[in-house]
């Protein structure tokens, strides 16, 4: 399961173009301006390609991906189902 975390962080680092996301797992991704709706969609497309996850923009909720920790937890939960 550690692999999922690493891969999610790799994808996140690429999309947010910031190394800070690795160092601070509680970094507020949206409030800090690192992620916006374009970045969110880019993440969704990357997760679809990498994990085969279909995430709908209609359920887009900044709260669920608010920090790297929350993002990883959400992806793990989706993969577990």
């Amino acid at each position: 399961m550690a692999d999922v975390a690493t891969e999610v962080l790799d994808i996140l680092e690429g999309v947010a173009q910031s190394r800070e996301v690795r160092r601070n797992m509680d970094l507020p991704l949206y409030q800090s301006g690192l992620l916006d709706s374009l970045a969110t969609v880019t993440l969704m497309a990357a997760f679809a390609e990498r994990f085969g996850l279909e995430i709908s923009p209609a359920e887009f909720d900044q709260e669920r991906w608010a920090t790297p920790t929350k993002l990883i937890a959400d992806i793990r939960e989706r993969l577990a189902v």
Binding site: S37, L38, V41, T42, A45, A48, E49, S56, P57, A58
Partner: protein, 457 residues
């Protein structure tokens, strides 16, 4: 017998007390359920759209129009035209609303049944397009109604129809056209169509089970927000009914509700009213650039206080009926760029479009690699989204130009922000922040001038 205008007519406020008092009693005793919302909605919709108290002022039914042209088609033309005229006098808005609701409900039930069997995109696209058809008929009405009398009766009848106020004159833009909604639509159709489509999208994505008919009706028609939003979402609306609120929670809701209603009175009846009287009216009569600029700023403030005031009423009244209607405004004139602006101005519309148009488009385009560059994808998404936003207001030139302008401004502000980030040109300090707020406000105000139609008259 014009319908009542919510939060404008004094009678509306008086009538509002009748469903609100039982709601308070039910809320305090933890018995407030969706059944009561449905009941109150049915009653208020009847009072609002049929307005039985306004019957005495109804005018005479217009007489037959002169019908020149070929004799063969005369009876058909005559019947068509007369039924169009007569329909105006049987609480037409209520009739249209009921027909519309039945159509959208059947569409939702039909689509939900198909969706259970497969997730294929075709039925989904057909359902979404069909859900927009009634809105399209209403919005494009001014365009084809100019042509229809010509087809039916020839040019002279078109003139008569215009004189009777049946057909809006081509020079008056927008929603303020008298007789427009009276004739083929009802107040609020634009707003509730977005709610109906929200249900279809959530069904397609498997995010909700098919809502019960009672829940669907109370969500789509929820009377405090029926006429002009805020545009709620089915999943958020449903979450309000997951568990009964405690007495203390209901009291807190009432508390917030009373505050918002008071804010509505202040914004709409005091501030917006005085801006209209003392600023906007004189400015609209002032010629030249000075008059235009004065009108631009006056209209921007007027629109904000009028619409934010209306939204405050709608949110405040919703609270009494157990619904936490989402916020529509958040200090929009403090926005630092256009993206920030759309997170502060008419939030429920812009977030609906963000989630259901922009993000869907960009996700599809990214997955299928339609464009090489993700910023190009995003910019096309902005133009598409804001173009639809303009069109949603109506097919008049001022709205279409407004949508295009907003799309260009979003692109420009994103482009400049990224350029600045790469080159590190401007530091982030109090001065640059104040500068960007000032610049954004002025560009926003120019957008509102386009929207107002004042430039086009």
């Amino acid at each position: 017998m014009a319908p009542l205008t919510p939060y404008v007519d004094f009678l509306y406020f008086a009538l509002l007390l009748y469903p609100t008092i039982p709601a308070v009693i039910l809320g305090l005793s933890r018995r407030l359920g969706i059944w009561y919302v449905l009941l109150a909605t049915a009653g208020m919709i009847w009072l609002q759209y049929d307005n039985p108290f306004g019957r005495t002022v109804s005018g005479p039914i217009p007489g037959a129009y002169p019908l020149p042209g070929a004799k063969v088609y005369e009876p058909i033309r005559h019947t068509l035209w007369q039924s169009l005229v007569a329909f105006q006098h049987v609480a037409p808005q209520l009739v249209y609303l009921l027909v519309y609701t039945a159509f959208e409900l059947l569409l939702m039930l039909g689509f939900a049944a198909l969706r259970k069997r497969s997730k294929k995109p075709l039925p989904y696209y057909i359902a979404v397009i069909a859900a927009f058809v009634p809105l399209g008929i209403v919005k494009f009405y001014p365009l084809y109604m100019h042509l229809l009398p010509h087809f039916l009766n020839g040019p002279s009848a078109a003139k008569v129809a215009q004189a009777e106020g049946l057909v809006p004159s081509s020079t008056t833009p927008g929603l303020l056209v008298p007789g427009l909604v009276d004739t083929v639509g009802f107040v609020g159709i634009s707003y509730i169509t977005f709610r109906a489509v929200d249900v279809l999208i959530n069904l397609q994505d498997g995010l909700i089970e098919r809502p019960g008919i009672g829940l669907w009706l109370s969500f789509v028609l929820f009377f405090p927000t029926i006429s002009a939003g805020p545009i709620d979402r089915i999943r958020r609306f449903t979450s309000d009914w997951k568990q009964r609120r405690t007495r203390a929670q209901y009291i807190a809701d009432m508390d917030a509700g009373i505050y918002r209603i008071a804010q509505g009175f202040l914004y709409k009846f005091v501030i917006a009213f005085w801006i209209w009287q003392l600023w906007l009216q004189p400015a609209s009569r002032t010629p030249g650039l000075h008059g235009m600029l004065s009108y631009m700023y006056g209209y921007t403030f007027y629109l904000f206080f009028d619409f934010a005031g209306y939204s405050a009423f709608a949110i405040g009244v919703s609270n009494f009926f157990g619904v936490h209607t989402p916020e529509n405004f958040h200090a929009p004139f403090l926005a630092r760029n256009f993206k920030d602006f759309w997170n502060r101005w008419f939030i429920t519309l812009s977030w609906w479009l963000r989630d259901h148009v922009y993000m869907r488009f960009v996700l599809n385009a990214t997955k299928r690699k339609w464009f090489k560059n993700k910023y190009v994808t995003s910019y096309i998404g902005y133009l598409l989204t804001m173009g639809l936003m303009g069109l949603w207001h109506g097919p008049q030139a001022n709205y279409l130009v407004y949508g295009f302008y907003q799309g260009i401004m979003l692109i420009a502000s994103d482009f400049l922000a990224r350029w600045n980030q790469r080159r590190n040109l401007l530091p982030d300090n109090t001065l640059t922040r104040a500068g960007s707020i000032f610049l954004t406000f002025n560009l926003v105000a120019f957008g509102m001038l386009i929207f107002s139609g004042h430039l086009f008259t």
